[in-house]
Amino acid sequence: MNVEVGHSASSPVSIHDLTVAYHRKPVLWDVDLDIPEGKLIAIVGPNGAGKSTLIKAILDIVPRASGNILLYGKPFKKQRKLVAYVPQRESVDWDFPIDALGVVLMGRYGKIGWCKPVLRKDRKIAMDALERVGMVEYAHRQINQLSGGQQQRVFLARALAQDSMIYFMDEPFASVDAATERAIVQVLGDLRTSGKTIVVVHHDLQTVPEYFDNVILLNMRVVAHGSVEEVFTDENLKKTYGGRLTLLSEAADRLARGKVTS
C-alpha cells in the first residue's frame, strides 16, 4: 500500500505535501496532515486562507498542483462511497424546480448508479435524513420557498442520506437561524457518537471550543492542528490571523469562559 512515512493507513484523511494553486497563485502550501478518526474537527482561518479549497482538494473538485491525499489509505477515487459533502449554501441556485425531498434524494444518486430509478428504499432513507434535521414537514416544499436555514438543513440531510464514514461540511453555520444552528449541532453530535469523522469549515471562533473536539488552524499552510484544548490558544490564533486583534480577544475571552464553565 502506498503509505508515506509518518502517515497512517487507518487515518480517514491523510494529506501529504499538498499544494493547490488557482491561476498560478498558490492557495495552499505544503499542507501535511493526518485527520484522526471519530472526531469533530473544525478548520478555521482568515478569509482567503484556503479553508474551502482544502476540502475541495480532498474531494478532487479542484486540481492539486502537487502532493497526495489518501482516505483510509486509498485515493479518493476509490473511496467516494465513504464520503459525504455539504457544499456552501450559496454555491447553488435555489430557484430550481425541485422540492426538499428531491434534493435529499440526490445524496442517494451515487449509490443508485447510472440510469437506474430512485427506489422506495431510497425515499425512506431520504425521509429519515429530513427527520434528523427536523425538516420532515417541509419534504414537499419547493426549495426556493425555504428560508436560508432550512436550505442549509436540506443540504445537511442530503449528506446524511449519503450514509458515509467521513463528512465534509463547508461553512454549514454561515448565516443560519438559531433553530438550524441547534439542529446542526445535534446532528454533528449524533454523527460523532456513531463513530463518523466530521470535518467542518467554520468561521465563528467563539463557538469552536463549544462545538468541536479538534481544530485545524489554517492560513495557506497548517499553523497548528490537534485537540482544541492544546491547539486553540491565543498564540496560535495570533499566528493564524495576524494582527486582527478584536476577533482574537473575543475568541480568547470565549475560550477562557468556556474553560471555566465546562
Partner: protein, 430 residues
C-alpha cells in the same frame, strides 16, 4: 382547417411537432444549466458549415441539395462554435457573455460571406440555402420529416434515461463531482443533443431563431412545473403545440417564413405562462402581495387595539382613536375592522365602539407578544440578528427556540418593570 389534408404537409407538420417536443425536453436542461446563450452561438455557427458543405457537394458534382450533407456541415460547425467558446473561456480572461458574442458574430459573418460565394457558383442552385436562415417548412419533404421524427424520439429517450444525472449536474455540479459523475461527459452529451436539435431545426425554424425553440418552451414550463419531470412534460407539450400551430399557419399563409411564426407562437405561450403561471406568474405574485399586505394590516390593527386597551385600561375603542394611531385614513381602518369582524376578531357594540372578541384577544395577544420579543431580540442581539429574524413566523419559538425565548421574556419583563409597576399584558403561550 388546422388538420391539413395534404399528405406531405401533414408529415411536415408532424416533423415540426416532434422537433418542438425534443427541443422542449433538451431545452429544459439547457436552461437549468444556464447555457441558453451558448445554444444561440451554436446555431449561428452552423451557417458557414452549411455553405461549405454546399460548395463541397457541388464541387464533387452533387446537386448541392443533399440534405444529409448540409446538415453534416452544420453539425460540424456547430461543434466548432461550442469548442471555440470553451477555448476562449478557458484561455483568456474574457467571460462567457463576451466569448459567446465573439463566436456568434464571427461565425455568422463568415457564414453570410460563404453563402454569397456559394450562391454565385456556376453549377447548382443555391437559392434554397437562404431558407436555412429563417426557416422554410414548405421546402421539406416527407423523408426530412421522418428523420426529424426519428431524431426527436432518440433525444427524448436519451434525456429521459439520463434525467437523474442531468438534474444533479444542473443543480449542483460540485456535489456531482464528489459522487464521481463524469461532469464533462454529461455536458458534452447535453450540448451534443442541443447541436442535433439545432441542426434538425434549421430547415423549419431557421438558424437565427432555432434557439427560441430550445429556450422559450422550457422558460414557459418553469412557470407551471414544480419538479423536473413535470417541467420536461410541460416544456415538450408547449414546444409540440407551438410547432403544430406555427407550421400549420405557415402552410396556410403562403410566402410567410416558418421560423418567425413558430417563434411567435412560442412567445404567445410564454406571455400566457408569465401572466397566469402558478409559480411567480404576475397574477399569482400580485395575489400573494395583496395577501401579505392584508395580513400586515390586520396585525397592525389588532396590535393597535390591544396596546390601546393595555395603556388606557379600556375594553372598547372608537374608530377615530385607531385612525390616529398610525398613518391610516378613516376608510382604510373601517375596511380592516370589517375584515376583522368577518373573521370574528372584533365586534362593534351598540354605542359604536369596537371591542376585541375572545378569539381576537388571543390572536392580538400572540401578535403583540411576538412583536415585543422580536424588538427585545433585535436590541439585545443586534450582531447576529438579521439572519435569524423571521417576523412573520406564527410563533417566535419556531425560529429562535424555547430557551432563547425564555431569555427574551426575562429581558422584556425587567425592561417593563422599570417603566411601570403594572403587569404586562403578555401571557406566555407555547
Amino acid at each position: 382547417m388546422l388538420l391539413l389534408e395534404d399528405y406531405n404537409t401533414r408529415v411536415v407538420v408532424l416533423g415540426v411537432m416532434a422537433l418542438g417536443a425534443a427541443a422542449g425536453v433538451v431545452g429544459t436542461f439547457l436552461l437549468l444549466r444556464k447555457r441558453a446563450l451558448t445554444a444561440d452561438a451554436l446555431s449561428h455557427a452552423t451557417l458557414p458549415g452549411i455553405a461549405i458543405a454546399f460548395m463541397v457537394v457541388v464541387a464533387f458534382g452533387g446537386s448541392g441539395k443533399s440534405m444529409l450533407g448540409l446538415l453534416l456541415g452544420a453539425f460540424v460547425f456547430g461543434c466548432i462554435g461550442v469548442l471555440s467558446i470553451l477555448a476562449i473561456r478557458h484561455t483568456t480572461r474574457l467571460k462567457d457573455d463576451a466569448a459567446i458574442g465573439i463566436v456568434l458574430s464571427v461565425f455568422f459573418g463568415l457564414g453570410l460571406c460563404l453563402l454569397k460565394i456559394a450562391s454565385e457558383m456556376p453549377s447548382g442552385s443555391a437559392a434554397g440555402l437562404q431558407g436555412f436562415i429563417f426557416g422554410k417548412a414548405a421546402s421539406m419533404v416527407a423523408s426530412d420529416a421522418m428523420m426529424m421524427l426519428g431524431v426527436a424520439v432518440g433525444i427524448i429517450l436519451v434525456t429521459g434515461t439520463l434525467r437523474k444525472e442531468f438534474t444533479l449536474l444542473c443543480f449542483d455540479e460540485k456535489f456531482s463531482i464528489t459522487q464521481g459523475w463524469p461532469v464533462l461527459t454529461l455536458d458534452v452529451v447535453l450540448m451534443g443533443m442541443v447541436t442535433v436539435v439545432t441542426v434538425i431545426a434549421l430547415q423549419s425554424v431557421g438558424l437565427v431563431l432555432a434557439v427560441a425553440m430550445l429556450i422559450i418552451p422550457a422558460a414557459s414550463a418553469r412557470y407551471w412545473a414544480r419538479n423536473i419531470t413535470s417541467m420536461l412534460i410541460v416544456s415538450a407539450l408547449i414546444g409540440c403545440l407551438s410547432g403544430w400551430l406555427g407550421a400549420t399557419m405557415s402552410a396556410l399563409i403562403p410566402r410567410m417564413p416558418t421560423g418567425p411564426i413558430i417563434v411567435l407562437v412560442c412567445g404567445f405561450w410564454f406571455v400566457c405562462s408569465f401572466i397566469f403561471g402558478r409559480n411567480n406568474g404576475i397574477i399569482v405574485s400580485q395575489i400573494v402581495r395583496v395577501q401579505l399586505n392584508r395580513r400586515v394590516a390586520m396585525q397592525h390593527l389588532l396590535r393597535a387595539m390591544w396596546e390601546t386597551f393595555e395603556r388606557e385600561k379600556e375594553r372598547s375603542i372608537p374608530v377615530e382613536t385607531i385612525v390616529s394611531m398610525r398613518s391610516w385614513n378613516h376608510s382604510f381602518v373601517v375596511r380592516q375592522l370589517k375584515r376583522a369582524k368577518r373573521r370574528g376578531h372584533v365586534t362593534k357594540r351598540e354605542d359604536n365602539l369596537w371591542i376585541l372578541t375572545e378569539e381576537g384577544s388571543v390572536e392580538a395577544n400572540r401578535i403583540v407578544r411576538n412583536h415585543r420579543l422580536w424588538e427585545v431580540y433585535l436590541i439585545n442581539y443586534a450582531d447576529i440578528a438579521p439572519s435569524h429574524v423571521d417576523r412573520d413566523a406564527d410563533m417566535i419559538e419556531h425560529v429562535l427556540g424555547i430557551d432563547m425565548v425564555q431569555k427574551l421574556e426575562k429581558l422584556l419583563q425587567s425592561a417593563r418593570n422599570l417603566q411601570s409597576p403594572h403587569p404586562i399584558g403578555v401571557d406566555v403561550k407555547t
